[in-house]
């Protein structure tokens, strides 16, 4: 990687007021595009996925309406959608912190499981602790374990510039096997008839349900709080700005005297901690015991959620609800005999069309700005 500074890369720091053609004309069309493009992307993705559906003799309209019914049709579906949105929001926020600095943390799935393991260890070890003690302890354990799981890729990236995409992703497989080791080995429920699952947690270690008659639990408050905190840190603090500079150009960050290595590590660790928290909220709020396949790929779906929301914390919450619906309808699809692969397929297609919309609109805005500039060369 070339770290030599060029005049262009230093320019935003040397003269922050330098006119960037993109910024000048960004506002007029921007809002329209931000609102329209995800909708258009989802529509195009649905059209695209109709092809394999038709190939296998399914009626796309029927499948889509069943999916919609499953996720939004009744109050049960709606509450389940929200339940799935909780971990998606938390993991999505975590991923967004890393992505803001252009650190590709693809290891959220592993960090999620690390958090699950930390919380589970405490819940199993101290079944007689009261809620006020065990829940905060599990919370801290999950944050620490998620952070530690992310620490390895972060240190390797900042020390030797080892590609964090590969290291963080490889650790997903390691975490999954570690979880299975505990479920099938030391933590296996002796009264579980040989099924691979841990004994149920104590009543006290369960996150309280906050809406009667649903599974919506206290994790929702964590998610809302995390949204606010991430927004505050990313857009209102100097550190948030430093991450953004690091993401735009690491050489700029270096020559502006920002602690690049430290920022890489902290961003990664915060990212992992949030994913770990999602793991705790899922195991203590929903499952109340550790079972295989606790996560239907939250770590991967959250990447799409974060990207679709353009890394905006409030947007992540909204998009997480949308994808929560997609995930919860996936379970219904399986019951109707349609492979869960359909949901993965749909996620991939949505991501492609969102990316394309983003790239095309950026080019549109850029060209428009250039044209205007060409018309008025004296404008400064």
């Amino acid at each position: 990687m070339n770290l030599k500074p060029t005049l262009e890369s230093l320019q935003p720091v040397l003269s922050p007021a330098a006119p960037t053609p993109l910024r000048q004309r960004f506002d007029s069309l921007n809002l329209l595009i931000v609102i329209l493009s995800p909708g258009v992307a989802i529509l195009l993705a649905l059209l695209f996925i109709a092809v394999p559906l038709l190939l296998t003799g399914k009626d796309p309209l029927l499948v889509y309406s069943q999916m919609y019914q499953a996720a939004w049709g009744d109050s049960y579906g709606q509450s389940e959608t929200l339940v799935k949105a909780i971990p998606l929001t938390l993991v999505g926020l975590g991923v967004a912190v890393a992505f803001r600095a252009r650190l590709w943390n693809i290891g959220a799935e592993g960090q999620f499981y690390a958090g699950v393991l930390g919380a589970t260890a405490l819940a199993l070890a101290f079944p007689d602790w009261p809620s006020l003690l065990i829940i905060p302890a599990m919370l801290v354990a999950s944050l620490v374990c998620g952070a530690l799981w992310a620490l390895g890729p972060a240190l390797l990236r900042s020390w030797l510039n080892v590609n964090e995409i590969i290291t963080s992703l490889m650790l997903n497989y390691v975490a999954l096997n570690l979880t299975n080791f505990f479920i099938y080995g030391p933590w296996k429920d002796p009264k579980g008839f040989g099924f691979p699952k841990t004994p149920p947690f104590s009543e006290a270690s369960a996150l309280p349900v906050i809406i009667e008659g649903t599974r919506i639990h206290f994790g929702l408050i964590f998610a809302l709080l995390a949204m606010f905190l991430v927004w505050l840190v990313l857009s209102k603090t100097g550190w948030g700005f430093e991450l953004k500079v690091l993401g735009e150009s690491s050489s700029t960050a270096r020559y502006a005297g920002m602690p690049v290595a430290r920022n890489i590590i902290v961003a990664f660790v915060v990212s992992g901690a949030l994913a770990g928290l999602a793991g705790m909220s899922e195991v203590a709020g929903i499952a109340h015991r550790l079972e295989p396949n606790l996560s239907p790929g939250y770590g991967y779906t959250a990447i799409i959620v974060a990207w679709l929301a353009r890394l905006n914390p409030w947007g992540i919450g909204l998009v997480a609800i949308l994808f929560g619906g997609l995930l919860s309808s996936g379970f219904t699809m399986q019951r109707l005999g349609i492979s869960a692969g359909l949901v993965t397929l749909l996620q991939g297609a949505i991501l492609f069309f969102v990316l394309a919309g983003e790239a095309l609109s950026r080019r549109l805005l850029y060209n428009r700005a250039l044209r205007r500039k060409a018309l008025q060369p004296e404008e400064r």
Partner: protein, 322 residues
Amino acid sequence: MDLVNLLAITIAAGTPVLFATLGELLTERSGVLNLGLEGMMLVGALSAFAGTTATGNLWLGVLCGMLGGALLALIHAFFTLTIGVNQVVSGLALVLLGQGLASYLGRGFIGQVVPDSFKTVAVPGLADLPVLGPVLFRHDWLVYLSFGLVPVLAFYIYRTRPGLNLRSVGDSPATADALGIAVTGTRYAYVCAGGALCGLGGAYMSLAYIPSWNENVTAGRGWIAVGLVIFAMWNPWRALLGAYLFGFVDGLNFQLQVSQGNLSLGFIQFNQINTFFLKMLPYLVVIAALVFSQWRLKHNRNREASGPPAALGQLYLRRDKN
């Protein structure tokens, strides 16, 4: 269970990863990062399986696998090169797309066995050599194909005119453009070629390695190949080394699982190793290999010679077009 047998399994287990690594190596040499290997391998495995089932011919199945991988790669090429999408995120989307397609369309095949699969063909004469024979010369045709592919690709990349063009497109697209090389066209070609090789790796999985259809047959091998390209420093010979390193660990793993954690290799004894820890091993080895190669890069004086293609991951647009 002896060392010779383990080394023979090493070659077989390394082959699908070798194909995928070589494919990604070509793609990245042209300056395009395609992280979608896992998806392309899965689609390749499925297309090869479906192709063989439909036609009854193994080689037509292999062709289908390569075509499937190339078509998926074409999607990546279109989105990154024509539309200008971020290459990292597009690769991730490709993984999801490929996994989803293979899982959705492959549902009907689950548990089925291919009508025909690649069988061991002993090379006359060479197969009877004391140690080398069973290790290197008692494999199927696809393994021999991979033996041939490595020197051919190394020669192509470093010693031929099109190979020089490929490297120039990846290192300095503006220079290549000024020389009259079609930068975007070249990149399209190599992204698709890389996808085809990945599909070939997938085809090896479903037609030779495990000749029946299971969901997620590749189990992360695509991602391992992405890591091995970095370990290989974009050099086909080192890709061979990396792939067989993975193959060794994977083969060891396989043998230990068969013998329930007990294994004697003559000089080392393995007893009662937990299978879940064994399964982690290949991934940890890839991380270790990456750390090792980056550490060497850091302490190596002629860094330019072994670093990544200079324009890797960057979109090239002609200045005057904007």
